[in-house]
Symmetry: C2
């Protein structure tokens, strides 16, 4: 693989979404990412969604293109091995990302005794050491309270683990920032963040904390309306549902023009005394605006206006199920250079995404399938932990490590 | 400011959420981030939420700690100025992030004529050049279809612009990866990504594309249940709603133990023939499990069990509104070192987040307020564009640039 992070080696000890995602994003930019797991598989080895075979699509999705080493971490020998792998020499190694809550031998303080310039990025739940997952962070911040149909009286959780995905990306940038600093100063460090702080920072950045503190009226559920300006979903004559956006002035003018609703919009602006050129006024008048637009969509099939909307640069989308999306949207197929259709043993054949980032300096890397658990144990023990064949064979024999191919390596 | 990215200079030309967020995250790690805007303010200068004064909390939230230069980009002089600022010399400069769709003078091809090793990261809507925003990307991928109460027959959009937040973070790591490469090779480049590809990659990484392609039965709405294992919300006797998690074996065992529901769980396991130690079985039996747990919560007030849940390491949370969260949760106040309470002119006083990442090598930086539009125009023209006082005065006089303080700089 020839990626922009070529030469960098990152060790990952992780479960759930965020840190595995961080390792994946690094791997798909060309880093060598070594993931270690317990011999019986990590906490997320069997997580849903599953393939028809029963194997985890989730695990395979988040561990693409990594190297896998399976180690019994309860044994002192296993712990020593992990320590060797994490702290192995090399100017672009000594990088460790984790969310495992292991005290003692896996602390930065302990590990950095073996490699002084180790960079260890640790994601935990909250700053008090309490566990937290996406599904608990989100309700505590009030997002489910403002999600869902207008007037619905219960909170609605995200189906997407958004905070996990964001935190995983923060782990990547934190690691790259710390490595940049090490390159200049020679100094390694512990880098710490929590899922809850990531989420709290983001809602603060969006102005939601200021809003809650300063404004007497709390934000309420507003269904599928785009908050603060104009954007709404409509059902067409064919039963399809579309989302249309009038966030910027240009988007709004385009939408009014293409639907021929200018006179009606002028009338409600005059009646209300609110200038619809201001996005906040479109938010205030969204119900009236939608009442004007709804008949336009109800009278038309999707095919009546889809091409024209695209041609005129309208910002819009059709609502799909994921099953429809994989059939109907070529951007989710290998017509999109980000995707490759891979045959993955035990899973099946489907489009698999590589990095969403296209670096001019490097050809796009095709995604690689996830390894079998322990697929690279032998090689990593030899190449990274620098053990000889006898030592490696002994570790396999004593059950300290495992892998799919347990035969001894041929003598060099 | 003394952050881990000290010395790095990034120029940002942006609107909406993702790229402004990227600039903010870089600034909060210590980079000097120069944001340029039109003299009348950018597309998002007045975006909701607003402070009681009518000023944008959104804009202030996403532009904290940046330097602001206000330029008339319709004028050739203004364009030349932006070009000078973007391509100014310095080993840790020549970094440009943008989502503005400006062809010609703001292309990487054109700009890199002035600085060959320029790194320019461009986020656009989709790979076909069509516009896209969070609210259109999400429906197209089927997330609203699986969000919301079980049985509810319409899609439910995210209240959180999750894809924007994720894409902003991807911009940061793409920039750092490209800068790392430039440091080794001397080579700059164009780096391109789209909001839609970021989203499509993430749903693929989570296994959702494989699920949609391979499995005959589509994932459906499942209310507030944690997908694939166990997690559910319950209403307590006091009216509070809590989320409790039984995702891992340890979380599940803890939940069963603390609620004393072991016998009942054993009974449903025996009746169904499904081992509840397997997380997928907890998902399949979630309704029966919830029926067993619901009376436990209905009979108790939050204060009856909150401390015990924390003491026993249960993964759980109370549902709050954002207004409750800012009052009740000390993690959203300056009791959390990530937050500082700032007085911001025109906005008010409220807790403002800094970086969620704690680097061992650097003291946590306090967040800085957003600049007034054009607050740094004069300084940037002098220090970055290297213009002399006469040239700067001329630009102000001709209306090519603007700032809150239009007085001439004292002669040096």
């Amino acid at each position: 693989m020839n990626g922009i992070l070529n030469g960098m080696r990152v060790v990952e000890g992780s479960a759930f979404v965020a840190v595995p995602l961080a390792g994946l994003l690094l791997a798909q930019m060309g880093a060598e990412v070594i993931r270690f797991d317990r011999i019986e598989g990590g906490l997320d080895a069997g997580r849903w969604p599953l393939a028809p075979s029963g194997q985890s699509l989730f695990w395979a999705g988040l561990n693409k293109g990594k190297r896998s080493v399976a180690v019994d971490m309860r044994s002192p020998e296993g712990r020593e091995l992990i320590t060797r792998i994490v702290t192995a020499p090399g100017p672009d190694a000594g990088l460790f990302i984790t969310n495992l809550r292991v005290r003692g031998w896996m602390d930065h303080e302990t590990l950095s005794q073996y490699r002084k310039d180790l960079i260890m990025v640790t994601l935990s739940g909250d700053r008090h050491g309490r566990p937290a997952v996406d599904y608990t962070v989100n309700p505590g911040l009030g997002i489910p309270d403002i999600t869902g149909p207008e007037g619905y009286d219960a909170p609605v959780a995200n189906a997407l683990p958004a905070w996990d995905l964001i935190a995983g990306n923060v782990v990547v940038s934190a690691l790259l920032a710390a490595e940049r600093h090490r390159l200049r100063s020679g100094i390694g460090q512990a880098v710490d963040l929590t899922l809850k702080d990531v989420a709290a920072a983001m809602v603060g950045h969006l102005g939601m904390i200021g809003d809650a503190v300063l404004n007497p009226v709390a934000r309420e559920k507003s269904g599928n309306a785009l908050y603060g300006a104009y954007g709404q979903d409509f059902v067409c004559a064919c039963g399809n549902r579309v989302m249309v956006i009038g966030l910027t002035r240009r988007q709004w003018d385009g939408l009014v023009k293409v639907t021929g609703t200018g006179d009606a919009m002028d009338a409600i602006a005059a009646a209300s005394g609110l200038d619809l050129a201001e996005e906040g006024n479109r938010w205030k008048l969204r119900d009236v605006i939608s009442a004007i637009l709804a008949p336009w969509f109800a009278a038309r099939e999707l095919t009546d206006f889809a091409s024209e909307f695209d041609r005129k640069g309208i910002t819009w989308s059709v609502f799909r199920t994921m099953k429809q999306a994989v059939v109907e949207d070529p951007d989710l197929s290998d017509a999109n250079p980000m995707f490759s259709v891979l045959d993955q043993p035990g899973l099946g054949r489907f489009p698999v995404p590589g990095s969403p980032v296209e670096f001019g300096s490097h050809r796009r890397q095709r995604p690689e399938a996830a390894p079998a658990l322990g697929a690279d144990t032998e090689e990593i023990l030899a190449d990274v932990a620098r053990l000889d064949d006898r030592e490696i064979a002994g570790l396999f024999d004593r059950g300290v490590v495992d892998g799919p191919r347990r035969q001894a390596r041929p003598a060099a």
